[in-house]
């Protein structure tokens, strides 16, 4: 058996499922805050193996989903500049802002290019010296170091036609927001990717401040089931502790080099979240030293309205897609099927909101893998 197969061994997963069923004696509600957990719980069919009394809801763990409409409007304003080549991960292209998507703007002639890494955006800037490449930086502690590295590289190359529109976000402040606002949770399945960078200790306040159990989980089926078992055991004992259920990737202090890189380039700032409003200190923006790599300081990003040939000067009021409950979905306040559009007007072919656009979004996972009412 190869190393990865150990964590997909059906016998092992079945034993963990049995242990979970034996551990859960009362209704429990856990939240996961990671798109990969959202997807893998479905993709491996694990939801069908959970005891009926255990509910696992998705929280604000999908970076595209938590990006506010106002930030999409900012992307549109940036991409509308004639000299700009807007470089972004694919999902963002289809997320609607107040008056359309980046794909709509591209159809009107804007240059929007899908890249697979921040480094690819730097390469694009080097290949196209005549254009200003604006990279949309998105993601949590996991991806922020990669964007930071791209900025450091651009600085070393003295590249003048590269900058970042940062929507990077930090996990601890949003967990504070979720838990500070009168929640009904019995525990948190903590994200292994974020913890690999930030360390177990970044999640310690969960127990210390909020008295809740948390377990850091990996992403293979046995990892996820093991984390749920340990979480159920902690919750059953009423124990407030944060355990590391993914020690092969997560250290107590995480990855100090990656943290240092992020710290060197970025500084925390207030940021808007879909479903939560502005959360103090939850965003990351380039430090003064890297100001010339900050799209917000280089471009006029006043929101505009989309016209037939591009963005028009008239300012638009920020609005979310009508009837879309993504804000509630990412906050764990409702399940995707509770949204009136789910599976009707909103499908993965014709998504209405970001939670259906992003492959990691909760609505997309329910739509692709969910067994209707399940």
């Amino acid at each position: 058996m190869k190393p990865a197969d150990v964590y997909r061994d059906p016998e092992r997963v079945r034993r963990l499922a049995a242990r979970l069923a034996a551990t859960v004696h009362r209704p429990l509600r856990f939240m996961e805050v990671c798109g990969t957990h959202t997807v893998n719980l479905f993709r491996f069919g694990l939801r069908a193996m959970l005891p009926p009394e255990l509910e696992v809801v998705s929280g604000p763990g999908c970076p595209v989903c938590v990006t506010a409409a106002v930030d999409i409007d900012t992307c549109l304003a940036a991409a509308a500049h004639p000299e700009v080549e807007f470089a972004t991960f694919g999902d963002l292209v289809r997320v609607p802002g107040s008056c359309g998507t980046l794909a709509d703007l591209r159809a009107r002639g804007a240059r929007v290019t899908v890249v697979h890494s921040p480094a690819a955006a730097v390469a694009l800037a080097r290949a196209e010296p005549g254009r200003l490449v604006v990279f949309a930086g998105i993601g949590f502690e996991t991806t922020a170091p990669l964007t930071a590295a791209a900025i450091v590289q651009a600085a070393a190359l003295a590249l003048d036609n590269f900058c970042v529109l940062s929507f990077h976000k930090r996990m601890p402040p949003i967990i504070d927001r979720v838990l500070g606002a009168g929640h009904r949770l019995d525990g948190l399945l903590c994200p292994g990717h974020v913890a690999a960078i930030a360390g177990r200790r970044a999640f310690a306040p969960l127990a210390e401040v909020y008295g809740l159990p948390g377990v850091i989980g990996g992403f293979e089926p046995a990892d996820i089931m093991l984390a749920l078992v340990r979480l159920a055991e902690l919750a059953g004992r009423g124990a407030a502790a944060v355990e590391n259920g993914y020690p092969r990737a997560v250290a107590e202090n995480g990855n100090p080099a990656a943290q240092a890189l992020t710290d060197r380039v970025f500084i925390p700032a207030d940021a808007p979240w879909r479903g939560f409003g502005t959360v103090p200190g939850s965003g990351l923006v380039p430090r003064e030293e890297f100001a010339r790599f900050d799209a917000r300081r280089r471009l006029d990003l006043t929101p505009r309205k989309m016209g037939s040939t591009g963005m028009e000067p008239a300012a638009a009021a920020v609005s979310e897609p009508a009837g879309c409950r993504c804000g509630d979905v990412v906050a764990g306040r409702c399940r995707p099927p509770d949204c009136g559009h789910f599976g009707r007007r909103c499908t993965s072919t014709a998504p209405v909101g970001p939670c259906m656009v992003s492959a990691e979004g909760s609505c997309a996972a329910w739509f692709r893998y969910g067994n209707d009412g399940e």
Partner: protein
């Protein structure tokens, strides 16, 4: 103006219908595809009378890149259309070949594709009997697009259609899943990925399907080749068209480790990856084991396996029993399509 293959590139002249165009067709295609039906180069090929129902299909090929491990656009264009006929139980008789070329395409590339088309048609035993070539200005197409249509004959008594699905039928997959789709994606430079063990599975399946249909008369209810949209989409289409539910066992599905590994790396579910050399067969349960044994006697069917069954249940639903013992729904590919893989 004469045309030599050592003339470097395709020009607009070559699609003009004039002398240059005729020369291009003769040198590049007629010489290679030589057969009595094509030779007259009349406006239509005339086929001899056929004894049975006519099956007729068409498909266009826009794969990027043109060449990839295990195949190229020409091979796909022949095998794909042959397979579309085979999936109705038809014996392929003849193909047409329409080429749209971008001005500036290297003649050497065109010659390689023509070679490949000729070899594939020869191997399949299905002649290309009529064709057309157009050249569009640089930028109006990407290098080369190919359309092939095909006609075939369905023998009396052969009735292959998802409408014949019955509760209890066995679902068979004839080859490992996802090889073509992942190979083409990995061959794209922009993904920055190199997989040395990946290879497209493109193959003509008509001999294998004909052998099964002949040996098990009436037992083969439906055939589907899981090309674009992958095995998931093909299963959903079968379930929807047959008005029944399918239950699939992930653990039974042949999947080569390098395909699985590359899929994980690129974040793509192998169920959505295109296949060009496999088919899904729905057969009577009692014959399933023997059908698998027959499939495995053919080189294209060496990995054949029963992967699930038909149930009366919710029409169109496909339930996957996952390898780790869980359960979820399989849905057709939507959104995020994987463009230009065939």
């Amino acid at each position: 103006m004469g045309i030599d293959e050592d003339m470097e590139r395709v020009t607009l002249d070559h699609g003009s219908g004039g002398l240059a165009a005729r020369e291009l067709v003769r040198r590049l295609f007629v010489a290679r595809l030589d057969n009595p039906l094509l030779a007259p180069l009349e406006d239509s090929a005339v086929l001899p009378p056929i004894g049975g129902r006519l099956a007729f299909t068409t498909d266009s090929y826009v794969v990027d890149p043109l060449f990839f491990p295990g195949g190229d656009i020409g091979l796909l264009a022949v095998n794909g259309t042959v397979n579309d006929l085979a999936m109705r139980g038809a014996r392929p008789l003849a193909l047409s070949l329409g080429m749209i070329l971008e001005e500036g395409l290297e003649m050497e590339i065109l010659a390689r594709v023509a070679d490949s088309i000729a070899a594939a048609a020869e191997r399949a035993g299905v002649p290309v009997v009529t064709g057309d070539t157009k050249v569009v200005p640089r930028g109006a197409a990407d290098k080369m697009f190919i359309n092939t249509s095909g006609v075939g004959v369905i023998a009396d008594g052969v009735e292959i259609s998802p409408r014949r699905l019955q509760g209890g039928d066995a679902v068979i997959l004839s080859a490992s899943m996802g090889d073509h789709g992942i190979t083409v994606l990995a061959a794209r430079a922009e993904l920055g990925f190199s997989g040395t063990e990946l290879k497209s599975d493109t193959a003509a399946l008509h001999r294998m399907t004909a052998a099964v249909i002949a040996r098990f008369p009436g037992a083969v209810h439906a055939l589907r080749d899981p090309t674009r949209g992958g095995v998931a989409t093909a299963l959903c289409e079968l379930a929807a068209a047959g008005g029944l539910e399918l239950e699939i066992d992930e653990i039974a599905i042949p999947l080569r480790p390098p395909v699985r590994a590359a899929g994980e790396l690129l974040g793509i579910d192998p169920f959505f990856l295109a296949n060009e050399g496999s088919c899904i067969m729905v057969v009577e349960a009692a014959d399933a084991a023997d059908v698998v044994a027959e499939l495995r006697r053919h080189p294209e069917g060496g990995q054949a396996a029963v992967i699930g069954r038909v149930k009366s249940g919710e029409p169109g639903r496909v339930v996957l029993h996952t390898a780790v013992g869980g359960r979820r729904r399989l849905r057709p590919l939507t959104g995020d399509p994987l463009p230009r893989i065939c």
